[in-house]
């Protein structure tokens, strides 16, 4: 190689990484990943789509891909479902369930869990983040361990406590009490993780921002309301949705505490239908399943932007 060629070769070497390193391989990787994830989730996606399509059809069983050729959409199954006509006998559907009540029950449990979780973990998270009290570290570790306990393992103790405490109440209050009990026990499973989540959000707010507001003339309550809360709003929103879904999807607690009192939620309702699957009318069950999915879908659409919405600026590291 003569000197000129060598120089050119060196310059090529030097320039190429400038164009390549940052952009192209990463983009390629992203595409490969997207295809892989897409392929892997395809079966599940198809199942969900078939479920939704079934709920708008009048086939006797579950739709299959080959049925799609002669698919005729109808909303009859949804009407039947909402009217509670879920029991097929001799080719007819009979009203056996108060569906709107079931939806309401599910909403009560979900909203209740959400409210309890948000209230307690926001306050506890703030305390863990801001106050250096004795035993803080041990308590935080304990909270972590609590999170690791499976909810099923706890249910025996929780049930014993329930039976024992029920005896102290008049029977007229038992239904309400069962609701409260489910909400509290379900919420307590969510609270440990939520405390950690909220602590993380509070940790991101420098002390100085709170002090600045106090020096500017704000009272403690005002600082909390106008500075701290708005800054952790994305956290609270995400938390309330997580907790709502946990309540909405809960099966074991509503099954143990509410079902024996003949109080159904969507989870226990669907379970009941699935148990009689041979005789069940599929489109109606599919409608119930689809309704059950809706919060998750809404959650998916809303949280994405919520979790990305963080305030970064205005504070030096």
């Amino acid at each position: 190689m003569n000197p000129l060629q060598r120089l050119r070769a060196r310059r090529r070497e030097r320039e190429e990484p400038l164009i390549d390193v940052e952009t192209i391989p990463r983009r390629r990787l992203t595409i490969v990943l997207a295809i892989a994830v897409g392929l892997a989730s395809l079966p599940m996606l198809i199942t969900y789509i078939l479920l939704i399509l079934t709920s708008f059809s009048n086939t006797a069983g579950m739709l299959t891909i080959s049925d799609l050729a002669h698919y005729v959409p109808t909303i009859q199954p949804w009407i039947d479902f909402l009217e509670g006509k879920v029991e097929p006998t001799a080719g007819h559907l009979y009203t056996t369930m108060e569906i709107l009540g079931i939806i309401l029950n599910t909403l009560i449990v979900a909203a209740g869990v959400s409210i309890v979780v948000v209230l307690t973990s926001t306050m506890a998270g703030y305390a863990f983040s801001r106050i250096r009290f004795r035993g803080r570290k041990a308590l935080m570790q304990l909270v972590m361990i609590l999170h690791a306990f499976p909810g099923v393992a706890l249910i025996i103790a929780v049930y014993a406590l329930y039976v024992w405490s029920l005896a102290a109440l008049p029977p007229s209050a038992w239904n309400t009490y069962a609701f409260i009990y489910v909400i509290l026990s379900r919420a307590s499973l969510e609270i440990p993780m939520s405390i950690w989540l909220m602590k993380g959000f509070f940790d991101k707010i420098p002390w100085e921002v709170e002090w600045a507001a106090i020096v500017d003339g704000a009272s403690r309550i005002r600082v909390w309301r106008e500075i701290v809360l708005p800054l952790v709003k994305p956290g609270i929103a995400a938390l309330s949705i997580f907790a709502f879904l946990a309540g909405w999807e809960d099966f074991i607690y509503v099954w143990v505490f509410l079902k024996p009192r003949d109080i159904y939620t969507l989870a226990t309702f669907i379970e009941e239908q699935v148990r009689n699957l041979e005789t069940a009318y599929f489109p109606v069950v599919a409608a119930a399943g689809t309704l059950y999915l809706i919060p998750t879908i809404i959650f998916f659409i809303t949280t994405q932007h919520l979790l990305l919405e963080t305030y970064a600026g205005g504070m030096k590291a």
Partner: protein, 355 residues
């Protein structure tokens, strides 16, 4: 505008003593700079004045009013934090308006004042932005605007320029000084940058490990440092400090004996100090100078001057020479220090010995 006074103030965090028995007076309408290295207790001092911290012992006065137990929101101080601490979820306008809103100022008046202070600090065109959309220098101005808008009795600034680049720092520094003079406000400014302190201060307070080392105007701090710490901290390059033996009342340094017109103990040790810009390097000893023989070690050409590192009796000193000086490593030279520029310190206490 008030005078701020601290009387016997001590602040402890657990067992850490952040400030020890501080007695200070910050004069009304003056620009006082608190200067000290990292961890010396500067922020703590400001937070005490602002009321964010309460002193462990001692009292704080604004004029004749004892504010020791007054909460921050009742003190009417403006505080610019080390990290600005802007409200991230508010626009620049809302940030600046926040203190006024808390005072229930009518909206029309708020609008007027926010624009006035924004104009003063050249941030009018930024009012609709959020803090994260601003550069460091702009955030700093917003923080300053928020502190000024409520017309505080005292303006407290905690290293407000430390995150800016060198050019911007020098520029804003001058603006800040001008602004304080215009408003005639009592300003207390904290920094670890001695050049900043010299440039801004009517009076400098040097603090180290929570103890006040010296309080004096910049010129005096520079020329008559009270102790070894102040001498070593102020100046760039810092003061040369050499430990020397006393023999029969003369100072033995680098193999030569210097007699200076001062009353010294007959024997023992002493620390000799001189500033790099006060000595000269020559081929021969000079009249009326303390002349110490040495050898040139490194020559740094800074353009407007040369910084020579010279070895004297095994220790290195720095001397500033004119850009025309022709020295190279290995040259045998004399470091000549005018007698009146020599500073002497007690090696035990660190205190300066008055000649």
């Amino acid at each position: 505008m008030v005078e701020v006074r601290l009387e016997n103030v001590t602040k402890k965090f657990g067992r850490v003593v952040a400030l020890r028995d501080i007695n200070l007076r910050f004069r009304d309408g003056k620009f006082t700079v608190v200067l000290g290295p990292s961890g010396s207790g500067k922020s703590t001092l400001l937070y005490l004045i602002a009321g964010i911290y309460k002193p462990t012992r001692g009292r704080i006065y604004f004029d004749d009013k004892d504010v020791t137990n007054l909460p921050p929101n009742k003190r009417n101080v403006g505080l610019v934090f080390q990290n600005y601490a802007l409200y991230p979820h508010m626009t620049v306008y809302e940030n600046i308006a926040f203190p006024l809103k808390l005072r229930k100022t009518p909206q029309r008046k708020i609008d007027e004042k926010v624009h006035e202070v924004a104009k003063l600090l050249h941030i009018e065109e930024l009012l609709d932005r959020y803090p994260h959309q601003l550069s460091g220098g702009q955030q700093q101005r917003v923080a300053l605007a928020r502190a000024l808008v409520k017309e505080p009795a005292v303006l407290l600034l905690d290293e407000p320029l430390s995150n800016l680049d060198a050019l911007l720092r020098v520029k804003i520094r001058a603006e800040l000084k001008k602004l304080q003079e215009q408003l005639g406000i009592t300003a207390i400014y904290v920094t670890h940058d001695q050049a900043e302190a010299m440039a801004l201060a009517d009076e400098i307070i040097v603090i180290h490990r929570g103890v006040i080392q010296q309080k004096a105007p910049p010129k005096k701090i520079y020329e008559e440092p009270a102790n070894l710490f102040v001498a070593g901290f102020i100046g760039n390059p810092p003061t040369n400090l050499l430990k020397a033996r006393l023999v029969d009342g003369a100072i033995e340094l680098g193999g030569s004996r210097i007699t200076i017109p001062a009353r010294l103990p007959r024997d023992g040790y002493i620390v000799v100090g001189f500033r790099p810009e006060h000595a000269s390097v020559d081929a021969e000893p000079l009249e009326n100078h303390a002349s110490i023989p040495g050898e040139v070690y490194v020559v740094e050409d800074m353009g407007k001057e040369k910084i020579l590192t010279i070895i004297i009796g095994g220790e290195m000193v720095k001397v500033i020479a004119p850009p025309t000086a022709e020295f190279k490593p290995g040259d045998k030279v004399y470091v000549n220090i005018p007698y009146r520029r020599i500073m002497l310190f007690d090696p035990e206490t660190g205190a300066r010995i008055e000649a």
